[in-house]
Amino acid sequence: MLITKSPETLIICEECDTVYRRRPLARGEVARCVCCGAQLDSHQRFGVNGVLALILTAMIMFLLANVWPVVTLGLNGQHSSATLWGTIIAMWQEQAQVVSVLAAMTLFFFPLAKMLSIGWLLWFARNGKRAPGFKQLLIGLHYFGPWTMSEVFVLGALVAIVKARVYFDVMAEPGIYAYAVLTLLITVFAGIDMRYLWNLKLRPWTMEHGP
């Protein structure tokens, strides 16, 4: 098993196995496979610092979205609010533990783990260093990356509000706005492939110098 002389010069289409020579892309350019049309590579609009800033924004929004209730219902003067964790706990108590675990994973733990690991990796990368656990975190991101569903939850909240509006007084709470902003950020993130970190020339992390 050998690495080719300079592995970064070649790129293999992930969907049809066609081999290309990599070339630098200009702003806004996207390289597509001529054979199957899959995206090969795209220009990274945000540098390491830019993505780090986006991640920090997303983390703040995620915190707010989880602290504030998403929606409040009113019926004859009684009020009832729902937060994300209230939802997860309610499903657990109502004998739907499978759904409860699914929601906890795809709406809380995986998004949180994703943001924390990207933030951790970039915090070191901006100083030209490989973060401790670099390999494991990037491999982890590859596997749990597709299992984050916050944007589906936002649409779900919208549908739930419309359904509940027939019988109750519905008040949108700040949580739903935080979720809306989070969804916008997620859309921006969808265009960023963290695997470019593998190709950066990063020095190994050492205890003496810190991050």
Binding site: M1, L2, I3, I12, Q78, V152, V159, W198
Partner: protein, 218 residues
Amino acid sequence: MSAPAKVQALPRASELGLIGCHVCGLVCRCPGADGGVAANACCPRCGCALHRRKPASYSRTWALLIAAFLMYLPANLLPIMRTASLNDIDDNTILTGVLELWTKGSPDLAVIVFTASILVPMLKFLVLGMLLISSQRQTGWARVQRAKLYRLVEFIGYWSMLDVFVVSLLTAMVRFSVLSRVEPLPGVIFFGLTVVLTMLASMSFDPRLIWDGRDTDD
């Protein structure tokens, strides 16, 4: 990537004795050419096992797809949600939920829910089944279109979770003791499992299989 005159002239990794790591994308040279990859070959950069194709792609995808379909039947036949108030109890299935949204709420959202909970899972079963059968027969038919369909299924797959989250949210919100309550019913569990299983199925399908054997066919 300048467009070459002939698409067929483009080299494939397996012909060049190259292999791309499925996790980190590193291009590795594999001495055991022609399909043979050492059983324990690992990517020198990330340490993950190297494969030319996702391992046991056909059997895994078939198994997951069939399991998903078996979950899909109770997901649609059983009620997913119970709305209880002082004078009546109403059990909703996915379809009646859509109908109620259409008549009482907003028709546009009804279309979105219908797409996410009924159309998308059906589309996934049909598309993945078709991709599996056509790739196993190594047909050269409509390869570009099939590749596009696969990307579509990968992209829209997780939006089917919509109804599961709607039921969860309503359960958490509508808790007015005896006056009005919403409870989840078993259908929603089956539906959640259907979505997870179809996502796993589309992940374990290897789109490279669509293009395998193209030299003999063209």
